[in-house]
């Protein structure tokens, strides 16, 4: 798979249209890597001139910040900003709502001002610019429910872009009772992904999976690698792997377009 880096691009004297911020999950987590690859396939199909930072990318510091370590966050932020500004990056797209939120909202006052898009917004733009079409026959008739990632939804009020893309797949979108503003968290945010939960009577991801299963879906769609992990674990816990799959919207589009 051809994934150009900024370093290559600059060496050839080129400035790509957009930087794809892969994020730690998208780079290292086996499940999330599939999302990164699906998104790259879409970028290639739409002939988007993009690049990644590759080994020059490092954690945005989001998880450290939510854990309370403002020092580590700002150190990471300033290192990243130095690299991004060095490459004169203007536009960034990412599949991770946490990176999206941090780059878009928390980097500007530290000197990193970019146009930042979540991949669902970016793909939506590609469609409206006529650069990409979604085949609405491949997945036709499937029941899909969408789990709103907190850092995309409530945190940044992006509710429609993912839903618009799902509708374009020709599937049957069924909402959970708690959705959009009232969506329940998957349980991974605020650095919970990296620790055990405090004592309680249930895991948050199990409760959210139960919400989703009530819609009797074939597919639980989401737009965040961490939500993906949590919902996938929830499906395993409920022993529903045979009937329900958890997919990122980028994966669904890649599948629909036979990429």
């Amino acid at each position: 798979m051809i994934v150009p880096t900024m370093a290559d691009m600059i060496a050839q004297g080129k400035q790509p249209e957009v930087l794809f911020w892969v994020g730690a999950a998208g780079s290292y987590d086996d499940r999330a890597k599939k999302i990164s690859r699906a998104f790259v396939k879409i970028l290639h199909q739409a002939k988007v001139d993009f690049a990644v930072l590759g080994i020059e990318e490092t954690s945005t510091g989001d998880a450290a910040k939510r854990a309370g370590n403002e020092f580590l966050f700002q150190m990471q932020a300033m290192m990243n900003i130095e690299v991004l500004n060095g490459y004169e990056v203007k536009k960034i797209v990412t599949c991770d709502p946490h990176s999206f939120n941090t780059l878009k909202n928390e980097y500007p006052s530290l000197g990193g001002k970019y146009e930042v898009y979540h991949h669902t917004q970016f793909i939506q733009n590609l469609i409206s610019e006529g650069r990409l079409n979604i085949d609405d026959t491949t997945l036709k008739g499937k029941r899909v429910t969408f789990h709103d990632p907190c850092y995309l939804g409530r945190a940044n009020e992006v509710y429609e872009s993912p839903r618009d893309l799902i509708r374009r797949l020709g599937v049957n979108l069924t909402e959970m009772k708690r959705h959009k503003e009232t969506a329940l968290c998957c349980g991974a945010g605020g650095a919970q992904m990296f620790k055990d939960a405090e004592p309680g009577n249930k895991e948050v991801n199990v409760l959210r999976t139960e919400d989703a299963l009530k819609t009797k879906p074939n597919i639980i769609a989401t737009g965040c690698p961490y939500c993906n992990t949590m919902m996938t674990d929830g499906i395993k816990f409920k022993e529903k792997e045979a009937e329900v799959v958890v997919k990122d919207i980028a994966e669904l589009i890649a599948e629909a377009n036979n990429l």
């Binding site: 580590l72 150190m75 409530r154 990296f194 620790k195």
Partner: protein
């Protein structure tokens, strides 16, 4: 002698309002114990929020049933205050229903008639509220933090309103001239027959008693506010005005940290420099919050505004899955501790004397703080834009940056971010391997 009631009324009125003003001063002093935060920008947006959310109750109706009942009580409360104005003027000058002469029969009748209908509706709504709190098993009213005073406080407010509305209707029902005029008594005309057979003197005495208890009740209620969750009827307005306008996912970047990080990353900085001779040694700022005085004034205003409705807690993923965290409790604890600090200052001639207590540990445990997923559900839910999440984050910052007291797994995560640029232990050189794995 005939002016005795007027004089008594004026004294009571001045005392009631004076005591209230004193408490408002205390309230404002306590809120100003918070750190500065600039909320003077984007004035029109702030005004719009206040009009929509506080005045227009736009977030209340997201839960339609309780929202609708709340609007009845709210509208009733505001409109019936016009009647209170008449009562105050009558009380001071010894007049009786002064607006009747001023406004004329028809308009006065329309006004009082409207108030009577509202009073009856408020009464019904308040009874339903009481049933919801005490009979229905609504989980958010049964949480641990709602035992004792918070539960009683909620009920006292409802009793107050029931009594005030009843007195208003009784007062109208026992006013024979008002009843005979037959204007503005759509409800009290059904209450009036209860007093048939009483002598005119007795009826007059009942009317006067109802009138007096009504106005005294209002003054007592006004002064009850400061001690109650009911402060929200006033503070909802400044609270929505000064609320955060940035995207909910945007957490503030600590400036004190920025300065230190810049210094650390500056290749020209000399690590061995000493402060210049005579230069004042600046005490390094405390990172994060361990007590109420480390929070900003908007967070403290939030705590006084909270009416403990529990919509936040009922939407919190941690609370829904049985964890100790309750965003409502975070707000209640903040207010309780702030009140304690305020009383300490009052008792020590205006200076806070260390009491070996703080918000962290004595009120809010680290277990509660670490259960938060930072999902913003509580912030989204709050009908008056309170932000419990910002307090949780500031306290986490204290735990991590001042005490290095993060859970072990998070320390490992942070070490990985520091060393490998990712929360997991992977080699930075492998960061692009995903591209070639298919």
């Amino acid at each position: 002698m005939q002016y005795l009631p007027n004089i008594f009324f004026i004294i009571v009125l001045i005392a009631g309002i004076g005591f209230f003003v004193m408490n408002v001063k205390k309230l404002s002093r306590n809120i100003k114990l918070g750190k500065d935060v600039d909320r003077t920008d984007r004035k029109s947006e702030r005004l719009k929020n206040m009009m929509m959310i506080a005045l227009g109750q736009s977030k209340m109706v997201k839960r339609p049933f309780s929202g609708f009942l709340h609007i009845i009580v709210y509208v009733g409360f505001i409109i019936i205050n016009i009647e209170v104005l008449e009562i105050i003027i009558d009380g001071i000058f010894g007049t009786h229903r002064i607006f009747l002469g001023v406004l004329g029969n028809a308009f006065y009748g329309f006004l009082i008639g409207t108030f009577e209908v509202l009073a009856a509706l408020v009464f019904i709504a308040v009874v339903i509220f009481w049933l919801r709190r005490n009979v229905s098993n609504i989980k958010r009213f049964l949480s641990k933090e709602m035992k004792g005073w918070p539960k009683n406080d909620g009920n006292y407010i409802l009793y107050f309103e029931m009594v005030l509305m009843t007195l208003f209707l009784v007062m109208n029902a026992t006013d024979p001239t008002f009843q005979q005029a037959g204007i503005g008594n759509p409800i009290s005309q059904f209450v009036a027959p209860l007093f048939n057979g009483f002598s005119p003197d007795t009826i007059h005495a009942i009317e006067r008693t109802a009138w007096w208890i009504h106005i005294l009740g209002i003054l007592v209620f006004l002064n009850y506010l400061y001690y109650s969750k009911h402060l929200h009827i006033l503070l909802a307005f400044p609270n929505t005005y000064f609320a955060n306008l940035n995207p909910k996912g945007q957490f503030n970047n600590l400036e004190s940290v920025t300065n230190e990080v810049k210094l650390m990353m500056d290749p020209d900085a000399d690590p061995y420099t000493m402060p210049e001779e005579g230069a004042e040694e600046t005490v390094p700022e405390k990172f994060g919050a361990s007590d109420v005085t480390d929070l900003n004034w908007v967070q403290l205003l939030n705590s006084y505004t909270c009416t403990e409705c529990g919509r936040c807690t009922s939407s919190c993923p941690a609370n829904l899955t049985g964890k100790k965290l309750s965003p409502r409790k975070i707000m209640m604890d903040t207010r309780d501790r702030l009140e304690e600090v305020g009383r300490n200052i009052d008792a020590n001639n205006g200076v806070f004397v260390d009491d070996n207590k703080q918000l962290l540990n004595d009120y809010i445990s680290p277990e509660e703080l670490w259960a938060c997923t930072s999902c913003n559900a509580c912030v989204e839910e709050c009908p008056v834009n309170i932000d419990p999440l910002s307090i949780i984050m500031d306290m986490r910052r204290y735990l991590v940056m001042e005490q290095s007291a993060a859970p072990q797994e998070l320390n490992m995560m942070m070490t990985n971010v520091e060393n490998n640029g990712a929360p997991w232990q992977y080699n930075q050189q492998d960061r692009l391997n995903w591209a070639n794995e298919e």
